[in-house]
Symmetry: C2
Subunit: 693 residues, 2 copies
């Protein structure tokens, strides 16, 4: 008895120490763990896992390798954290015979009837993804021996694009500094970069472009290649290949050449040598991401060459070793027809002229990551070209990281849209992939707002399987990140699902777009109309005057509608019958136009602003009721951000309403509250400290 | 037996969970805890503490208050972490009767013979500082009942100056982004700001200027005052008052006035109203820090007024509520005599003209935070003016955060110097204080390099007591931060103590200064001589030509020497007898000048470069031998930084030697290795990605 007592006392003392130590105390729940939190299971789920009590083992004859080692280590770590230290009653067998990660990562998980779960696939990548998938199922409380999965990725490239600069700043970043500390690399690799790779592997991300598409050539210099090599080496076991944003004028900028003409033999030799230099350091280098002849970036058109000429030249330099991802986000200072039309107009005629290792990357909508846009007409329109879907995870136009907006429904709207050319948008990118502009920074919780983690998660999950529903993704994310309690999920999942529509409503209802403040895109500025290029001005997009509001993109206007196939265009041609969520995207309508609600367009507009504000109030109340379900720190963080969102939703509504009134001279609809301030007040606000520029 | 067993098993399982959980695992030792780590005591020290086993209690009749609550909480937390959960065998009594923290914080700690330690002082601030002092003694392994301290701060203001910008960047910051997330304030206060206040209180820091001295007026706008209020409220219980860097032209920039003339009644009213507005939000606001008429900042001279006119106008606005700290760091584009002379020349004639609530802040040396400078001649030269010592904790000129350089010896050189005017430099600032330019950022370990934490610590400790030795400070820091093992301290403390001299030797030996790269100050650039203002050029400082090297500051040159009293100047007048560490600061000497080593000046210069490189190699070897004493993560971090330092020390030495050879045409001294590359190589290096600009 005495000896047992003694042990208990010692253990109790140790526990107390662990619990009380300031090192621990300072490290309460802070969001760092992301969806790899693996909080201990309870009740029945814990009992099932303990009964299973598996060891983790490789199938006989399996070749060892670093990627398999990661799969094993993650399983052990995750199982222990969930509450089942490895024993030998059951087994999780990793049956992925071939080393390396060259396969697509398709995996199956099934019980073999001998108290054994088998994760099987062609090579180690299958077991990497299978391990994380199994952990996700277990973290959701599923019965281990009932797990049965048969999955394969929907597209080859599931990618994050970091708009991170060499100096540590992040264009459109709202979560602190860049996670890439180029200054300390290659000597020091921050451990965050390993946890970043773990989090990505868990959702199937397999490629990362590490630097801003507005790229200086410096990233192609030897010291940066040495730094990138350190990252590539660290990420390889997690199945992630690195890409570089490459400046098209690099042969001139740093190569000492007089031209960057893609047809110039010296330029072609320079890029080939540069590619060889990179591959000598990083044998599995992914390739180049290029923003060319767009917003001031250099490109092949500077030499009278086409986008295809430029992309194919780089593809020749990479050879079969890598991929050129060429962005279709272009708009020209000379074309005053309709910015929404220009990418299609420039690229579709080039269909069939791009090399097989070139992928053209197309934003979800035809303008620029607005709270709502119709899908981009290029999807499906280039059948002989590999296309990639570009979404923006960082919320440049959706309230930065202080507004709660779950973006899966935004991406799903585009991915699920039928192009009318034989499939959905998701189908159109199955040969290419999906790239998301990352929302990740050095903030302890990675993304600034805790709920912004959900957007990173959702983007990866959708790239793996665009068929997942937003609700499924929200539920599995919330359960892993916060807690599995049914009451919590029942409240929070619907809150997430409605959050993006709330932003649309209080910022840009009814298909309005691009009404944000100049440069920083913070807050409302529909009055701005004096910027040098027409398409930089909010007034270019809303076209409001005493007679009406909206951008006529029908045949009587810019006819951007004609870029869609007739069956699709038909859905949007008639303002009386169409989906009013994109009404003013396609039509200029009088203020007294009768919407389907029976309200005038003006009354409907105000109604939607008010609906958005009310939705945020409801979100705040919903969150406030979750205090018992969430740790104090994250609860307070989210509550604080929701207070910001409540305030700013009102600001958006009031400033917009005040401005529209100054244009249409109409009284407020019955029952609508007047703006808190006059228009002059809102116009005078300035925010030179706004982040992300 | 069975029940005891069961408990043991459950406890063991819990322990394992704690140990294995990824949340914990991701949070191994990362440096976040700073000197508040309070690692569990062992052996005799632990036994003594457990025998003492104190509860923490307030003396009967003590008024409660938030600052006393912090003292109690920190004691309990620290004691538990050290291994002595509160019991009632002994007691730590807090005997600080008065509430608030208006006193100077003097405290006594003594045992009263009844197994009770008493921390006593006038008000709660005394118990705050006493609590942290006691924890430091305990963390160093001292016998609790033998602790006897009687301390008081040497000067009223013990301050950190953050050169942090509103956008989160940090001028001369090498540790990530600013810890001040203005964007989320006031709704969200990052918990880092609480741990920051704890760390500061533990070393006696009582004031913080939160924004860059190159300040935009925006920080004086209402939304920033609201944000600052949130910080001030959070820091008040830790005894820290906030200061703002104020832009002198604010009345014009944001006040709508046509002038910022300090004698203009409208300007005076504007500042008075602004001060009232701030004090309404923050009753204990510290005051304004001002950089005026320096490096392009606006100031009273723009209106033909003096520094005293400007400072006194702001002092009148603050009234007795606060302090104006006016920087003496000025140099003029029009004065081509000697930059080192200008602050003295401008300020000393104003002695006696500054209001009592104005403090003039003087850098440790007359130029700008170089690896070594003689002390600033203003110290002691303004007996009717309160002076403050400004040191730079962030290593703008000493290798950023990747070079290990412990700066206590640098500051001690200045603080201990006799001014010849009745005391030391430390004596000259006893009525003012010490301000350190912070090296703190959002990096997880706060300061980029782990050893840079020691500089933050040392600055605070010296401001509390300039009489502490560098060795004592190094030892107590290393023991608290890494470990108490005698063998570890015996190796690491001397390494720290010699580290700053190593930097001097490989960068700017023998009194050379300001030879760093343009703007970013990264790496060697002694060849730069084409910048528009003469004193921006390294060639201005070294004045090397075929005939010799060094800046003649004697009567035959700029006669800066005459700014020191004769007894001090005499020590530096004769190059044959003086301290050669500042030889070329004061003298221009021929290359074949015979130094006291017997070597020619040229040979001595090369010898010192080599000595610096060798010292870094020794530091790296010393650290490498500490693997067993340090956790793996921090061990690897420091080892990685030392690799950088080894490489860059060679770069400094080689580039400098190559350049001097190009000037003096001399062969290398016997046995000296040739530079690894030719001069053209070093001149061609460019680092647009260098941090901190």
């Amino acid at each position: 008895m005495m000896r047992g007592r003694e042990v208990v006392n010692r253990l109790a003392a140790m526990l107390l120490l662990l619990a009380l130590s300031p090192v621990q105390a300072a490290r309460a729940e802070d969001g760092y763990a992301l969806w790899l939190r693996y909080a201990p299971l309870k009740g029945e789920a814990l009992a099932r896992l303990r009964t299973f009590a598996p060891r983790v083992e490789a199938a006989p004859g399996t070749v060892e390798g670093p990627m398999l080692a990661v799969a094993e280590a993650e399983l052990k770590r995750g199982l222990a954290s969930l509450g089942a230290p490895a024993q030998t009653k059951g087994a999780i067998r990793l049956d992925c015979p071939r080393a390396g990660g060259g396969g697509d990562g398709a995996f199956r998980i099934h019980a073999d009837g001998k108290r054994r779960l088998v994760i099987a696939g062609a090579d180690h990548r299958a077991c990497l993804y299978g391990a994380f998938a199994l952990l996700r199922e277990l973290a959701l409380g599923r019965d281990p021996l009932a797990v049965a999965l048969d999955e394969h990725p929907a597209m080859p490239l599931r990618m994050l694009d970091h708009w991170d600069n060499a100096d540590g700043s992040v264009e459109r970043g709202y979560a602190g500094r860049s996670i890439f500390d180029w200054w300390r690399l290659p000597d020091h690799l921050d451990r965050r970069l390993i946890d970043y790779a773990r989090a990505n592997a868990a959702i199937g991300i397999d490629a990362v472009a590490v630097n801003n598409v507005n790229a200086p050539a410096i990233f192609l210099e030897p010291r940066f290649i040495a730094r990138l090599k350190r990252i590539a080496d660290a990420w390889r076991p997690y199945g992630i290949r690195v890409f570089l944003s490459a400046r098209f004028s690099a042969p001139r900028d740093i190569g000492g050449l007089a031209t960057a003409d893609p047809l110039d033999p010296g330029v072609r030799r320079w890029w080939k040598a540069k590619a060889d230099e990179i591959y000598a350091a990083i044998p599995d280098f992914g390739g180049f991401l290029v923003k060319a002849n767009s917003e001031g970036q250099p490109g092949p058109q500077d030499y009278g060459r086409s986008h295809a000429d430029g992309a194919n030249m780089l593809a020749a330099a990479l050879g079969p070793r890598g991929t050129v991802i060429w962005r279709a986000f272009v708009y020209s200072a000379d074309d005053d027809s309709d910015r929404a039309k220009q990418a299609y107009a420039e690229f579709v005629p080039l269909d069939g002229r791009f090399a097989d290792t070139v992928i053209v990357q197309v934003k979800n909508g035809p303008v620029d990551f607005q709270p709502r846009e119709p899908f981009h007409p290029m999807f499906g329109a280039m059948p002989k070209t590999r296309l990639m879907f570009e979404g923006q995870i960082t919320k440049e136009y959706l309230g930065f990281s202080t507004h709660l907006a779950f973006l899966a429904p935004l991406w799903k709207e585009a991915l699920d849209a039928g192009t009318g050319r034989g499939g959905t948008v998701a189908d159109a990118v199955r040969g290419g992939g999906m790239a998301g502009v990352a929302n990740i920074g050095s903030d302890r919780n990675w993304t600034g707002g805790h709920f912004d983690q959900a957007n990173w998660y959702a983007f990866g999950r959708l790239a793996w399987n665009p068929g997942l529903t937003s609700a499924d993704i929200a539920r599995e994310w919330a359960a892993q990140t916060f807690g599995r309690d049914a009451a919590f999920l029942k409240a929070v999942v619907p809150m997430m699902l409605g959050s993006r529509q709330a932003v649309v409503d209080y910022m840009t209802p009814l298909g309005l777009a691009h009404l944000m403040g100049t440069n920083h895109h913070y807050g409302p500025a529909p009055w701005v109309c004096d910027l040098p290029r027409p398409e930089w001005n909010p007034c270019y997009y809303h076209r409001a005057d005493a007679g009406g509001i909206g951008f006529d993109r029908t045949a009587s206007g810019s006819d951007a509608l004609a870029q869609y196939v007739p069956s699709v265009a038909a859905k949007w041609r008639d303002p009386k019958t169409m989906d009013e969520d994109v009404l003013l995207w396609f039509h200029h309508l009088p203020w007294d136009w009768r919407t389907r609600s029976g309200r005038s367009l003006w009354a409907e507009l105000v109604h939607r602003y008010d609906r958005g504000v009310a939705a945020v109030d409801t979100m705040a109340a919903t969150w406030d009721a979750q205090r018992a379900h969430v740790d104090a720190e994250r609860f307070a963080d989210v509550a604080g951000d929701l207070r910001v969102q409540q305030r700013e939703a009102r600001w958006w509504r009031d400033a917009s309403v005040a401005y529209w009134q100054s244009v249409n001279g109409l009284p407020l609809p019955e029952g609508a509250a007047p703006p808190a301030h006059n228009l002059a007040h809102y116009r005078a606000l300035a925010f030179p400290e706004a982040p992300g520029i």
